[in-house]
Structures are given as C-alpha cells and as structure tokens.
C-alpha cells in the first residue's frame, strides 16, 4: 500500500461546535479528495488543522511516515515544517509584493538564479508570463487565483490544500477555471485536498469525496459512489439528490423492490435496502417527461402528474411536479419549449428503476 495521509482528530471550539475528522487519502500519488458539505460543516477547520494553523484537541495526523500531529505525545509540527501548499479562499496575496515576488516568497532557500528559474516555470504553468511586475490589486479575480496557486506550488509542496479555490470567482470564470484546475493539478501530480460546498465542483474535480455535516464525516468514497449512493438521507440532501422522499418497501421480487411513496408505488432496485422504511432518492436529471398518453416503454415507473412550478437554471429548466409525491425534474430549455410545458399542465414522468436509490431510514 502506498503512503497515506491519515487524519483522525477532534477539534473543539469552546462554546462552539466540535469538528471530528476521520478519513485518509493517498500521500504520494496524485488524487484529489474533496471535503464536501454545507457551510458551517467544518470543512475549512479540518483543512486548517491539516495545515497546522489550528491545533486539534485529540487524535492524530500522519502523513506517510511523518507524524504531523499526535495529541497523545504532544507532537504538533508547525505549518512551516509540513511541506504543504495552502490556497486561501480569498487567496491572501501579499498586497505589497509583485506577482513574481509573491510566487518567489516561499523560495528563500534557493539561490537567486534557481529562484528566478522556478518563478519562470511557475509563471508558465499558471499562464501569467508578462504580468510578473503587476501588483495583486491590478489583477482580475482569475489572475489572482492563479498567482495564489502558483505561490502555493512554487516550493513543490507534498500536499496541496485548496480552500474553496473557485468560490471567489464569477460564474463564467469559475466554469472555465474548473477544467483548467483539474488538468493543472493532474500535470503536477501533487496529492490534493480540496474544500467546496459546490456539488458541480466536487463532481468535476474530485476523485474521492468526504461528505461532512455538522462537524462529522458522514460518508467517504469515490465521487461516483458517494453521489449515486448516498449512505443516508442527510448525505443525499447534501450531495444534492433532488428528490428525497420517505417511503416504505412493500415487497422485493427478482431484485426489484416495490416502494410506496406518497400515494403511488415505485419500482426500484432492491440493493441492500431490505424491507421497511426508506428514503427514495431521485436525481432531477434522471426524470424523463412525456406529454399525453403514455405508450409502453422500458422505464418501470410512469407517473402522471401536474407541473407546479418551473424555474430556469442556465440551459436547463427545473420543474417541480406533483405526481403522488413531490418530484423534481431537470430538462433542457429546448425540450421544455417543444413539449410546451407550462404550469398546471399534465405530464407523465418516466423513471428507470435503477435511477431510484433507496436509503434505509432510521
């Protein structure tokens, strides 16, 4: 097994929340682990503890062979000696230093010539060549983000910690940089831990996801695993499965479960839900809409319902339906126009059995 970053610790704030971290990630090969959760779930605190900016009360942090923190023997390496690169949410660029000096800031151990070469490499890498004499306040948000990233990367950290790397940017910029960031990090091959509350960011950037809620780890696993199979209703809500409805498994036959949800019955893959109370989780993009009389087709669930509301979401339309239970569907604007979907209209919603994820309730 390769070297691992193993974090098992507890950080308490007097009169405030307690944050418990419990996860691991590869420490010597490239992978991006996303700490994902709503604001206030303790993501940034965990990142700060890993960086050595906060000291947990209990537990330990191991990075490969190195002990970064161990409450039992009182070890706590200062941030200077952990070999990390930390990208702050608002970048925290040094306002009195130029772009080149910001990037060179952590390179004081190198000779002048080496330092200049490294700064040149980094400027190339983050595509800022030509801006080296600028000061941070004369840069756009995207450029600032790249300076901050370059500054963190310059000393060749062993682990990158990114705190909401894209949240300070506007939506268009965010979309563009999201792809660039993943590509850049892969090129470098530095193991990365990334904090975000944005589901799309987590899906787009992460290999592994650690879902946090109210200071504890709810679930961790591969991105696909976590997003398609949330371990409980809280995770489902956090990862943004759009419909989470309580139901009851009536019977299981041939691996298919019949579930009573609201006033209708749904067919879902039985998985290991067993029988009894469950939450049925359905992602909006998995719902297909049809108008008029339904003809026989493969999806097991066909539900007649009415459109209660429509809202625009970029190129997509989000529809709230009432079809025996509240259901959210996401369709393209085009489809919406073609079908002339309007509020109050009657539609048939089609959902394939595997698209309904059952989460045991209790």
């Amino acid at each position: 097994m390769s070297a691992q970053l193993i974090a098992t610790f507890e950080k308490r704030f007097p009169g405030g929340p307690t944050i418990r971290a419990d996860f691991s990630q590869p420490a010597d090969v490239f992978s991006i682990t996303v700490l994902f959760g709503p604001s206030g779930s303790g993501k940034t605190t965990i990142l700060r503890c890993l960086a050595g900016l906060e000291r947990p009360e209990e537990g330990s942090i191991h990075f490969g062979e190195t002990i970064w923190f161990d409450a039992a023997c009182g070890t706590c390496l200062p941030p200077q000696r952990r070999g990390i690169g930390y990208l702050f949410q608002e970048y925290a660029l040094f306002p009195h230093l130029s772009v080149a000096s910001n990037i060179a800031y952590g390179l004081s151990g190198l000779s002048r010539a080496e330092r200049q070469r490294r700064v040149g490499e980094i400027l190339d890498l983050v595509q800022l060549t030509g801006l080296e004499e600028r000061y941070p306040k004369h840069l756009s948000g995207g450029q600032q983000q790249r300076v901050a990233l370059g500054r963190a990367l310059a000393p060749r950290p062993r682990l990158l910690l990114l705190d909401e790397p894209l949240s300070a940017l506007d939506a268009t910029m965010r979309e563009r940089l999201r792809q660039d960031l993943r590509r850049l990090l892969r090129t470098l091959g530095t193991p990365t831990l990334l904090v975000t509350h944005d589901r799309v960011e987590a899906l787009a950037l992460g290999d592994h996801v650690v879902v946090l809620d109210e200071g504890r780890v709810c679930q961790s696993g591969s991105v696909h695993e976590v997003f398609s199979q949330p371990s409980d209703a809280a995770v489902a809500r956090i990862v943004g499965v759009d419909t989470v409805e309580p139901g009851k498994v009536l019977h299981v036959e041939d691996g298919l479960a019949t579930v009573a949800v609201g006033s209708v019955q749904l067919v879902a893959l039985a998985q290991d839900a067993g029988t009894g109370d469950v939450y049925a989780c359905i992602r909006a993009e998995d719902v297909i809409l049809e108008k008029g009389v339904a003809t026989p087709s493969s999806p097991r669930n066909r539900l007649t319902g009415r459109i209660r509301a429509l809202s625009r979401e970029g190129p997509m339309i989000r529809l709230s339906l009432e079809c025996g239970f509240p259901l959210t569907a996401l369709v393209t604007k085009q489809a919406c126009d073609e079908l002339e979907l309007q509020e109050g209209e009657q539609v048939t919603a089609l959902i394939k059995a595997p698209a309904i994820h059952l989460v045991p309730r209790g």
């Binding site: 900016l53 930390y86 702050f88 608002e90 925290a92 040094f94 009195h96 800031y105 952590g106």
Partner: protein, 220 residues
C-alpha cells in the same frame, strides 16, 4: 536660545522613541494578537498615562524611583547614583508617560494586517520572525511610524512629569518646556519666544513630514 535645553530635549525624545520601539512593538503585537481574557487589564494599564494628570503619574514614578524603593535601590547598587532628578530617571519616566502614544498606534496598525497573510507566509515555510519582517512590518509601517512620531513629539512636549521626576537641573533634566517656563517666570519674554517658536516650527515640520510619508504609502 537655550541650546543646552534643546539638545537635552532632543536626546531625551530620541532615546525614549528608540526604547518604545523596542519594548512597545512586542507589547503591541501581543495586544493585537492575544486572545487572553484578561487582556483588557493590560490595555487599561497601557492607556493610563493618557488620562492621569502628569502630577499623579510623576508622583508615583518618583515614589517608585526613590532610594527606599526596590527599583531605586537596585539602580543605586548598580550605578552608585540616585534615579530621581537624573537624566536616566527622566528617561524612564518619559518611556512610561509616552507608552500609550507608541503602543496604541502600533497595536492598531498590527491589528489591521490581514491575519491570513501571516498564515499564508507560515504555510510557505517562512518562520514567525521573518514573517513579521517581510509581511507584517511592510504592511503596518505607516502606523508604526505614527506611533514613533507621536512618542517623540509627546516627549518633547512633556512638562509636568519632568518637573516632578527630573526637576530643573540645567544640562541634566531641564528640557525645553521647562526652560520656556523659567524664562516666562523671569519675565524674559524675548528668550521664551525664540525657544517656543523653534519648538513650534520643529514640531510642525516633523508632523508634516510624517503625514507626507504616509500619503505616499497609500498610493502604491
């Protein structure tokens, strides 16, 4: 003009400013960053010279320096001399008296530095001390300069504490303000006027220079 008094005053003010820079900066850093609950007590003590009449402050300083006080005895055993009515005693009194004029602007300037910049520096492997020199000082020097100028100017202008602790010994403890007072008492208005005018011009020049320097800082 009383050049002896002017020279003495400048020496006293410069030394006071240097001492306050060395002692006041760590104290201000602590005040700006500490989360200790009892910090307000220290803040109150630092600010006391702002509100106490110079006579009260002078009186207690005199008591504290006296030959029967621990401080006075310690000083006497080292130097063989007495602390009150000496230049050294006056210097000590000036440092205490001007403490808030240095520490409060220092602390305000240090507290205004974005703490994340300090943390960013640490995460880049730069030590605590070098972070202070490379990040904190460059971003707070305008406020620190203000504190230094204020301590200097305040020491030049002190009167009550000088009389209480230093007395009026020419070349040892007679500062400009005391010298002017003497001239006025002796109805020697012309001499008082030249010295006073010199002090006025000097103070104005120093303050103008400070503000000019600060202005330039803000338009990087």
């Amino acid at each position: 003009m009383d050049w002896t008094a002017i020279w003495l005053t400048l020496r006293l003010a410069s030394l006071t400013t240097v001492i306050l820079f060395v002692l006041g900066l760590p104290l201000a850093y602590w005040l700006a960053t500490s989360t200790w609950r009892g910090k307000f007590l220290v803040e109150a003590i630092v600010a006391l010279p702002l509100v106490l009449p110079p006579t009260v402050l002078g009186f207690y300083l005199l008591m504290a320096m006296g030959p029967r006080s621990p401080l006075g005895q310690l000083y006497e055993s080292f130097s063989g001399r007495l602390l009150p009515f000496s230049f050294q005693g006056l210097l000590l009194a000036s440092v205490v008296y001007s403490l808030p004029f240095a520490v409060r602007p220092f602390a305000a300037a240090l507290a205004a530095v974005d703490w994340r910049l300090v943390e960013a520096s640490w995460c880049l492997g730069v030590s605590w001390v070098r972070t202070f020199v490379r990040v904190v000082l460059p971003l707070s020097w305008a406020g620190i300069l203000t504190g230094l100028v204020l301590s200097f100017a305040h020491t030049v202008g002190e009167f009550g504490v000088v009389l209480m602790v230093g007395g009026n010994i020419a070349g040892v403890t007679r500062t400009v303000s005391v010298a002017i007072y003497d001239e006025v008492q002796a109805l020697n208005y012309a001499a008082a006027h030249t010295t006073a005018l010199f002090l006025l011009g000097f103070s104005f020049a120093v303050l103008s220079l400070t503000y000019a320097l600060q202005r330039r800082v803000w338009v990087i």
